[in-house]
């Protein structure tokens, strides 16, 4: 009960999180090339798979339909790109602002609150992830990998994936003591990247396929894939629910930790 009430108080404290996004926009106005170069990597993955691997693999069966391998992988890569972008923004970058430049200490002397900081920083990560996802989607369409017009729904889905992972990443960052702790970040994201039905259908895991449900990224991949195929079913709501719950929990923890550690 008390956890519920304190969590609610975090969300009531949100006033002007958009100021944090304004700040990030100001910073990246000069460094836009960094954002641009981030678009490049997932597109290279896609191109490499299309050029070489597709022919090796042949078609893959999904939802009772046979599609080319590159069309199968593309949604997985899009979801993974949204995750990786969000994680990068919400771990290293946030740790630097927290510990090295003391940005959040300075922000808390203004009318902004800990909740504003958490929501604003996560919001920026979501925004950046959404830009990446949109660019990736345009590339997919240009390469003819799009199956249905519903694929535009992949953009809000990518934003949701970004929200989930930025929240989890920021919450985890509030527990980090030094840069050395960041070694554990790829230790967590690499298995997610590889084992979330990104590169092959869940059926490849046989009896162990239920384990994949434990990966938050898997739920994102399923949603993007459904968007690309234009297959809408009620079961997708469960995937959405998982991502939303994790995201809300992560944001709450992040805001509570900032409050606890910086407002002592």
């Amino acid at each position: 009960m008390s956890l519920v009430t304190t969590s609610a108080s975090v969300w009531r404290d949100i006033r002007r999180p958009q100021r944090l996004i304004e700040r990030s926009a100001m910073v990246y106005r000069r460094n836009w090339i960094i954002i641009l170069s981030g678009l490049f990597e997932p597109m290279l993955f896609l191109l490499s798979i299309r050029v070489g691997l597709s022919q090796l693999v042949g078609d893959v069966e999904v939802s009772g339909r046979r599609i080319a391998y590159d069309e199968f992988v593309a949604p997985g890569l899009l979801a993974a790109a949204a995750m990786n972008g969000a994680i990068f923004d919400s771990t290293m970058n946030i740790f630097h602002k927290w510990k090295a430049s003391k940005l959040y200490d300075a922000l808390l002397t203004t009318p902004l609150t800990a909740a504003d900081i958490a929501v604003g920083e996560i919001g920026w990560a979501v925004l950046r992830g959404t830009i990446y996802a949109t660019a990736f989607l345009i590339t997919m369409a240009a390469m003819g990998m799009v199956e249905s017009a519903w694929v535009v729904m992949a953009v809000p889905v990518a934003a949701l994936i970004g929200f989930t992972f930025a929240s989890l990443g920021m919450a985890a960052t509030t527990f980090m003591r030094s840069w050395a702790d960041f070694e554990y970040v790829p230790a967590a994201t690499l298995p997610l990247f590889l084992f979330s039905a990104t590169f092959y259908p869940v059926s490849a895991y046989g009896d162990w396929s239920w384990v994949v449900n434990l990966s938050p990224l898997y739920h994102g991949v399923e949603l993007v894939r459904a968007a690309n195929l234009g297959v809408w079913e009620a079961a997708l709501l469960a995937h959405v629910a998982v991502l939303v719950v994790l995201g809300v929990a992560g944001t709450t923890v992040a805001a509570r930790r900032i409050e606890k550690l910086l407002l002592s």
Binding site: I34, S37, F40, E41, L44, F45, L47, S48, I49, V51, G52, L53, Q55, L56, V57, G58, D59, V60, Y69, A180, E183, P186, A187, L190, P191, F193, L194, F195, F199, Y200, A204
Partner: protein, 260 residues
């Protein structure tokens, strides 16, 4: 007889390495294992079921094809990163290299010491990957003992030229681009995931000039058999040329930087 200068510098690096070896072992063992199970087994099962596998890979399973490339790619990633930020630290942030040059050591000794330190890192990394490959029957082969030194050459062929670049820089803002626009494309198009013959002709020709392609061909040929002496010598000479050019560039750059 006195200890050679480069060895004395390498001793310092060994001292530092004792503090970070855990991270390196994770990178050398756990990460390739995940890739192997994730991509090798998973994608492998898709490929071995259908597509034009036989026409493209012949008798080789996709798992074995991909796994052998990991020796080269893992070492490449590890030493490339090592030649960026940690090396920049010695030049710029902690200035340890400038301190060394204040002693009787020469910039040229530093370049030679890099051969030892990056070679050592590459040995640990490729040794770790080889241990992983030894776990699987299709890649368990005496050829692994030849593939490890081949992967070390691969690591040096990346580390030495990159270290020369690092030595010439005042800020690290180009470093992510090196990984993104040089190392990553080689990983994706250099023959790790599929034979370069699959690529459009122009890309295939470019791939022939990359050190990674030669290293992958060499490692794969040694472990799975099927590399003849002539082409093995060819691959080794290309890798050695990259290392020699990198070393030479390092001596020039370090001299300019540390004794302006």
């Amino acid at each position: 007889m006195a200890t050679p200068a480069a060895v004395r510098i390498a001793e310092r690096e060994l001292l530092l390495y004792r503090r970070i070896w855990r991270e390196n072992v994770i990178g050398a063992f756990v990460q390739p294992f995940l890739y192997l199970v994730g991509v090798g087994v998973g994608v492998g099962s898709l490929i071995d079921d259908g597509g034009d596998r036989a026409a493209i890979l012949g008798e080789t399973s996709y798992f074995a094809f991909y796994a052998t490339a990991l020796l080269a790619t893992t070492t490449m990633f590890n030493t490339s990163q090592e030649a960026l930020w940690p090396t920049m630290d010695g030049f710029r942030w902690s200035n340890a290299f400038r301190g060394m040059i204040g002693t009787p050591l020469e910039p040229r000794d530093l370049a030679t010491a890099f051969l030892l330190t990056f070679g050592g890192r590459a040995l640990v990394t490729s040794g770790g990957v080889a241990c992983v490959l030894a776990l699987f029957p299709s890649t368990r082969s005496l050829g692994l003992f030849g593939a490890v030194p081949a992967a070390v050459l691969c690591g040096l062929a990346f580390a030495m030229p990159i270290a020369a670049w690092t030595g010439s820089r005042d800020v690290d803002n180009t470093f992510p681009a090196i990984l993104r626009f040089v190392v990553m494309p080689m990983f994706l198009f250099g023959g790790a995931f599929y034979p370069v013959e699959q690529l459009p002709r122009a890309l295939e020709v470019i791939a022939w000039f990359t050190p990674l392609w030669h290293a992958i061909e060499l490692c794969r040929g040694l472990v799975l058999g099927g590399v003849d002496t002539g082409s093995a010598v060819g691959h080794v000479s290309v890798l050695v040329s990259y290392i020699a050019a990198g070393w030479l560039a390092c001596t020039i750059v370090f001299d300019r930087r540390l004794r302006p």
